[in-house]
Symmetry: C2
Subunit: 131 residues, 2 copies
Amino acid sequence: MPSTARTVRAQAPAVKVLPEPEGLPEPLPEPAVGDLRLENVLAALSDPLRLLIVRKLLLESEQFDHTCGWFGLDRPKSSLTHHFKALREAGVTRQRQYGLERRSQVRVTDLNARFPGLLDLVAAWTPPDGT
Amino acid sequence: MPSTARTVRAQAPAVKVLPEPEGLPEPLPEPAVGDLRLENVLAALSDPLRLLIVRKLLLESEQFDHTCGWFGLDRPKSSLTHHFKALREAGVTRQRQYGLERRSQVRVTDLNARFPGLLDLVAAWTPPDGT
DNA sequence: TCCGCTGTACGACTTCGATCGTACAGGATG
DNA sequence: CATCCTGTACGATCGAAGTCGTACAGCGGA
């Protein structure tokens, strides 16, 4: 499946560095920057699994978006969909529909603008044990 | 009720400034600094009422501890006790038993050491409406 | 001493969210 | 076209947490 990621990457040209090269699918419904609420963001980040997801996105590739399979989490797929939706609805991540798959990226700019320092805490976080 | 708050202040001499003048009651059971977990702290802070409590403590008097009546929240007393306990068990606040009342203060030093910047976000937070 | 006031303890109710099983969509491969 | 595989949609279940009513503890004032 990492090979798949590479394949799809080819489909979305490597030109993309975040300046939104116009060819991207529309993001799924998400709160606007001004509508981000600290309590919602904190609630979304209060789950260890979601904390792990966001941290991995931040540390290993904040520049690109990824499918939920990329994370290598051993949970049922339906559980993962649930958590990714929770993150998006809280405004932590942005999701785009690439064909039949849905990729996520952290809304770094928006979050740093509204809650400076918060993502640093997430990046510094360490999982409870060998999750 | 605000008058009551003034009364209680008089009861606890203004000498106390935080350097722990030895005469303080032992804090109620709380997690040690090293045991503070980001996910627990975020969960505790994901509730608007608790966010309001912590913010009020930070902005209006981080030097003193306060009884739950001091906050002027129009909720049943049992609800307030519940939230104060949640904050303490997550490690956000420290509670001491003064006779029959239980006063709270934010663990500013501990939180800044473990999660720098987090309390700034709480202090900058604004309630949803006229709570 | 009796009454009132403030705050905690306990327990019940209810809502929300985490978890997962199953069914379905749709490209990839042969 | 049939099959496989990845990922989403939907719905059920279960446990945790928010909410609150009531009872109780104990100081202060008349």
